[in-house]
Symmetry: C2
Subunit: 364 residues, 2 copies
C-alpha cells in the first residue's frame, strides 16, 4: 500500500502535478487495500505530490477501511456533508493549493469534475488512467495469491457445471446450480454474468443463457469467473454432450491448437500482438478465419477486463508477473460455437496457467 | 417511444438546445425500448431538437435494437470505428451543427466529453439529468406491467426464502436457494446484491450475508429485488425464526406501524417529506429514533434507486402513476434489525402496493 502511494507520488513529481484523485473502486482498492461499492456516494483517494494521502469514504465505512489496512488520513462523511468541501477545507488548513490534478478521466463524471472545480477553483486537468494501468499490470505476490484462488474457484465452477450436465436440463438450470455451489463456498460475486450456452446458442454471437435444453450431440460452452477478495478469474471451457460430428470436433481441435499455440509463445519480451496473430493464423489455416471475430484476450486483475488488450495491433510487450487471458474462439452459425480460455501468468522464462481444468475435449 | 423522443425534443426547443445525447443504459432503454449493457463500448441516443434521432450501438446489436422496436436511424459501429466521428459525419451531411448539447452529466465521463468535443468542436454543455428524472418519474401502463411482474417475482423470492429457513442453515445457503429458484423461472439478474441477514448481523449497519447460521429466537431479514425486462423490484421482509423476545416484537411492531402510517398517507399531492417525517415520528415515539438512520425510500423503475429520494427534507410532491419504495427500519445492535419495504404505486386517490407478501409478523 505504502509502495503504491509512493509510486503515484513519484509519477506526480516527475510530471509536476500537485495531486492525484482516484475514484474507481478498483484504483481505490489498489492503493488503499479497501474495497467498497459506494453506489452513488463518493469514494476517493487524494494523493498529494508530497505529504499524507487522504481516503474519502462514507463515515460508516471508516472502521472497515482501517481494518483493511489504510494507515493514513480518512475523511468519513455523513450524507448531509459535502466530502469534496471537507477535503478542500482540510487542504486549506495545510496551506495546500491544487493548481493541477490528475484524475481518472475514464471514470470521473462531468458532474463530479464540476464539483471538484466548485471547491478547488480552476486547475489543470491531467489523466492518470494510463499510469494506473501501467502500475497495475504487473501483479505482486499478494495479488497473485488472490488471483490463484479466484482461478481455482473458476475451475471448481466448471467441474460443477460439467457434473450437472443432463439431457433436457436448461442452460439456466445449470447456471443456477453453478452459482448455488459457489455461494455454498462463500462466493457471492461473479466477475460477469455467467454464460451457459448450448448447441446453436453457443454458436451465435448474441447467445445468452435461457431455456434451451441440453441434448445429445451438442457442444456446451461455459464462460464464467468469480471475484475473490476483489480479484477476478475468467475461464471458458466447451465440452461435448454425447457424440459429436466430425466438423464439431475439427472446430474444437482448431480452437485448442490456437490456444496452445499462443500459450506456448508466452514469456517476457514477446509482443502481445504476436500472440493474437499466431492464434489467428492457426484458425485461418484451418479455414475458420471469418469465424473468430474477437480479440485473443485481455488483462485480468481487479477488473475482469483490464489493461492490456491482447489484439492483433497491440504494441504491448509481455512482462513477468502480468496476468491476462488467452481465449480464441470459433463460432459457425448452426454448427458449433467453441471458445477455450485460460488465465495466464507470465513467469520469468515462460508462463503458468492459473486455470487448470482439462482442455482435451471432454465428453459427458 | 415516439412520445418520449417528442417530449425530449419539446424540452430542447423550450431551452433552445440543439440536441440531447443520452448515454446511460436506463435512459437509452427508456427512449428506444432497447436495453443493452455496452460495457466499455459506446451506447447512446442522439436526439436533435427537430428531425430524426439516431441510436449508436455496436454493429452486432443493430438487429436486436430493431427487434426492440427502434424505428429511427441506427449507427452500428465496428470495434475499429469511432462512433462519435460517424455521428459527426452523418450530421455534416445533414448540414446540422451542434452548438449546444444536453448531456447526462451524472453519467458521461470526462474522457467521453472530450471525445465529443474532438468531433464536434466546442459547444455549450447543458445537463439533461433532471429533465430525464422528471420524464421517468410517472410510469406508463406498459412500464407498470413490468414493475408488477418484477414485484410478483420479489414476493416469490421471499416465499422461497421463508420456505428454506431451517436451524443451522447459513445466510449464504438461503441466498443461494433464492437465486437458484429465480433462475429456474428465467430470472438471472437481481436489482442489487441479495441480502439474507440473521440475528446480530441484521442489526448491524455493515451486515453482509455470510456463514452466520439461523438459530431459534432470531429475526431474519431478507432484502432483494429482481430485474424483469429492465424494470426493478425491491422488497424487504423480516421474519421470526422461533419465539422472539418482547423487545424484538416491539421493534417489529414499531417498524410495521411506521410503514403502514406512511403508506396510508400516500396519494397524489402529498409531500414526500411528510411520509418520511410521519414514519420517523412513529419510530421516535416508540423510543427508537436514534436507530432509524436512513431515508424512508426512493423512486423505483429502470433503476432500483432512482428519482425521487423520499427524505425528511424532500420537496417532491407525489404524483399519480409514480412508483417508489417505503422502507423504514430499526437497527438496535445485538437486539434486533428489522426493515419492512414495499414497492408502492401512487393511484388516482391513494396507493397500491405492488409487493404483496404478508407484513404481520410471520413465525417459522
Amino acid at each position: 500500500m505504502k509502495g503504491k502511494i509512493k509510486q503515484i507520488q513519484q509519477y506526480l513529481s516527475s510530471r509536476s502535478i500537485d495531486a492525484a484523485f482516484l475514484t474507481s473502486t478498483e484504483n481505490v482498492c489498489y492503493t488503499t487495500g479497501f474495497r467498497s461499492n459506494p453506489h452513488e456516494r463518493w469514494l476517493a483517494v487524494f494523493v498529494p505530490q508530497t505529504g499524507e494521502s487522504t481516503l474519502i469514504c462514507p463515515g460508516m465505512e471508516e472502521e472497515e477501511a482501517r481494518h483493511a489496512g489504510w494507515e493514513y488520513r480518512i475523511i468519513g462523511y455523513s450524507d448531509t456533508e459535502n466530502p469534496i468541501q471537507l477535503l478542500h477545507t482540510l487542504l486549506q488548513t495545510k496551506n495546500m493549493a491544487v493548481s493541477s490534478l490528475a484524475i481518472e478521466s475514464s471514470h470521473l463524471t462531468v458532474d463530479r469534475l464540476n464539483l471538484l472545480k466548485e471547491s478547488f477553483g480552476s486547475f489543470d486537468i491531467h489523466s492518470i488512467d494510463q499510469q494506473m494501468n501501467d502500475l497495475r499490470v504487473v501483479k505482486s505476490q499478494d495479488e497473485l495469491v488472490l488471483l490463484r484462488k479466484a482461478a481455482e474457484l473458476a475451475d471448481f465452477a466448471i467441474e460443477t457445471a460439467c457434473s450437472e450436465l443432463a439431457e433436457g436440463k436448461t442452460e439456466l438450470e445449470i447456471l443456477a446450480a453453478i452459482e448455488f455451489e459457489l455461494k455454498r463456498k462463500g462466493i457471492t460475486e461473479m466477475s460477469f454474468s455467467t454464460m451457459v450456452l448450448t448447441g446453436k446458442n453457443a454458436a451465435s454471437p448474441h447467445g445468452n443463457p435461457g431455456l434451451n435444453k441440453i441434448k445429445r450431440g451438442d457442444l456446451v460452452l461455459f464462460d464464467l469467473g468469480v471475484v475473490y477478495q476483489g480479484y477476478c478469474s475468467d475461464i471458458t471451457r466447451t465440452v461435448a454432450f454425447g457424440e459429436l460430428s466430425k466438423e464439431q470436433i475439427k472446430i474444437y481441435e482448431t480452437v485448442l491448437a490456437a490456444e496452445l499455440k499462443a500459450l506456448e509463445m508466452v514469456k517476457p519480451g514477446v509482443k502481445a500482438s504476436d500472440l493474437d496473430l499466431a492464434a489467428r493464423k492457426v484458425i485461418q489455416d484451418a479455414g475458420y478465419g471469418d469465424f473468430f471475430p474477437h480479440r485473443l484476450g485481455h488483462g485480468l486483475g481487479l477488473n475482469v477486463h483490464e489493461y492490456p488488450s491482447i489484439t492483433s495491433d497491440s504494441d504491448f510487450i509481455l512482462k513477468e508477473g502480468m496476468t491476462f487471458t488467452i481465449e480464441p474462439g470459433i463460432y459457425v452459425p448452426n454448427i458449433a460455437g467453441v471458445r477455450i480460455e485460460d488465465d495466464v501468468l507470465v513467469t520469468e522464462n515462460g508462463y503458468e496457467t492459473l486455470t487448470k481444468f482439462p482442455k482435451t475435449l471432454q465428453y459427458y
